[in-house]
Amino acid sequence: MFKEMKKVFFIIIILVMTILFILSVDIEYGNPKNLDVANYYVDQGLHDTGAINLVAAIYLGYRAYDTLIETIVLFVAVTGVVFYLRGKR
């Protein structure tokens, strides 16, 4: 039962990947259509945040939420490493 389901899943995955590959043959890469947000960041980044480093302007200015959660992820990772390495006390 389980083995047959595995085979069916394998065939489905192969089929989906083939379809996706056929569909993506004639897509032009490196030529995105929607550049509004990126152009806005490049134009207004210095004026909005006051930082001449555009990367810092994005990750600490426009997307500070992202950085906050990233810091929390690191904190949780440190806590987890210490917790599991310490073992039973």
């Binding site: 945040t49 001449i52 480093n53 600490l60 200015g61 500070a64 939420y65 810091t71 690191l74």
Partner: protein
């Protein structure tokens, strides 16, 4: 334990410069490539280097594990506190309420410098705490 005298001497001379470079990366994060994460990892590497050459006991006398983990919590709480301070000053959460200043100077960018310092403290102490835990509970130097 610890390494030979040559390595210990070189690490002793090198340590302040590595920490200085890390502080530079953190404090100039909004002006040049770098920032809190990178500078914090550099400072954490300095502590790891000290532990590798001098042994974990001597390093723990200088940089206590308890104090480091307190600093880590302080860093992340500073970040969240600054975020809520933005609400109280009449902006959004994590909104900038300081003056933007002149572009290119170190006192520009508003809250960015404080964010970078908080992230730097958090990353530096986090990296060294992970190293301490690996050494103390899973093997020795």
């Amino acid at each position: 334990m610890g390494s030979s005298k040559i390595i210990r001497t070189i690490v002793q001379k090198l340590f302040p410069f590595i920490v200085l470079f890390g502080l530079y990366l953190i404090s100039h994060g909004h002006l040049s490539p770098g920032g809190g994460f990178q500078g914090g990892v550099v400072i954490g590497t300095a502590i790891i280097l000290l532990a590798l050459s001098y042994g974990i006991e001597k390093t723990e006398k200088k940089f206590e594990n308890k104090r480091l983990s307190m600093l880590e919590k302080l860093g992340i709480l500073t970040f969240i506190f600054l975020g809520f301070l933005g609400i109280f000053m009449g902006h959004s959460f994590l909104g900038n309420f300081l003056p933007l200043g002149k572009p290119g100077q170190i006192a520009s960018g508003g809250l960015m410098l404080l964010f970078n310092i908080a992230i730097g403290i958090e990353v530096a102490t986090g990296v060294s705490i992970i190293f301490y835990a690996l050494v103390k509970y899973r093997g020795e130097i």
